[in-house]
């Protein structure tokens, strides 16, 4: 292995246990994993930032940071979760100052539920309305609805729904209480479903409905 300094740092941390993971050197391992995960790193970065150039910067910065911290990764099987944590942390630290602004504006989101809307008694559906809607929604619809969320809401949805982070993990990364993550997530999902409902109406996907669906908005 040619990366002497890094390797010795790695080994010092492992005090005697010589894991089979070392069979493949750090650089090869890292390169392979990054290439393998490039689609997801870019995809998630794009949902976080909503901007191609910013997403490219975020992925690049994540890869540089991950390489620098690789000696601290004790279990290589956790690499994927670990690098996405670095990605999320990097994004969160970039937008930390922006977060505060959006908070005051977003208070009353009333738990909008697509499922409830689809089961309103005046909707004229045949078959299974929710399955039909799920099938008819385009990726662009979902992307647009997600993109329309304020940054601090989109961040929790991407972290929990796309990356599978726990509320506690997101709370730690954002430096907020778990209860805050829970309430932001609830509001975010409610807004997301409301946006999807409006898009579905505009696209005529819920053509059996009359306009009363909007009466409470």
């Amino acid at each position: 292995m040619e990366h002497g300094s890094l390797r010795s740092a790695h080994q010092r941390g492992q005090s005697g246990r010589d894991p089979p993971a070392c069979a493949i050197d750090n650089r090869t391992f890292f390169t392979l994993r990054v290439e393998e995960l490039a689609d997801r790193l870019y995809g998630v970065a794009l949902r976080f930032t909503r901007n191609r150039a910013a997403a490219e910067d975020l992925v690049s910065e994540t890869v540089v940071k991950a390489w620098a911290h690789l000696p601290q990764l004790e279990d290589r099987t956790c690499f994927e979760k670990w690098i996405f944590r670095i990605l999320a942390n990097t994004f969160f630290s970039q937008c930390r100052h922006e977060r505060e602004e959006t908070l005051a504006a977003e208070e009353d989101e009333d738990g909008f539920s697509l499922f409830d809307r689809l089961h309103q008694p005046f909707l004229l559906w045949w078959g299974n309305p929710e399955q039909e809607l799920i099938h008819k929604l385009l990726c662009e619809d979902l992307d647009r609805a997600l993109g329309a969320l304020p940054d601090c809401y989109r961040a929790v949805v991407v972290s929990v729904d796309l990356l599978g982070h726990s509320y506690a993990e997101v709370a730690e990364m954002l430096g907020v209480p778990v209860g805050t993550v829970r309430s932001r997530l609830n509001r975010a999902r409610s807004q997301l479903q409301r946006a999807l409902w409006h898009q579905a109406q505009a696209a005529g996907l819920v053509s059996g409905s009359r306009d009363e669906g909007d009466a409470h908005d």
Binding site: V34, D39, Y42, G43, V59, Q131, C139, L142, L146, L162
Partner: protein, 79 residues
């Protein structure tokens, strides 16, 4: 549907997303699962939320543009 059952449905609706997030303790999780096994309405709701989430999860993947591939290659080559 009995009064008790209706309250139970409301409880399930209220904690369904946390259930799907895997955030409930074992006791609450089991109560929800027992209810979902018996209640068609809540079961359909859970299926819908699951399906919506898996559609959303597809957004986690996007082909990186060539400019990013070149940039990553340059970064990795320097290590």
């Amino acid at each position: 549907m009995t009064e008790q059952e209706r309250i139970h449905c409301e409880e399930v609706v209220a904690s369904l997303l946390e259930y799907l997030d895997g955030e409930l303790d074992d006791a609450r999780r089991v109560r929800i699962e027992d209810h979902l096994a018996e209640c068609r309405g809540c079961f359909s709701r859970a299926e819908f939320e699951r399906a919506l989430r898996s559609r959303l999860q597809a957004l986690a993947t996007a082909p990186p543009p060539d400019s990013l591939k070149r940039r990553l290659k340059a970064i990795l080559d320097e290590f």
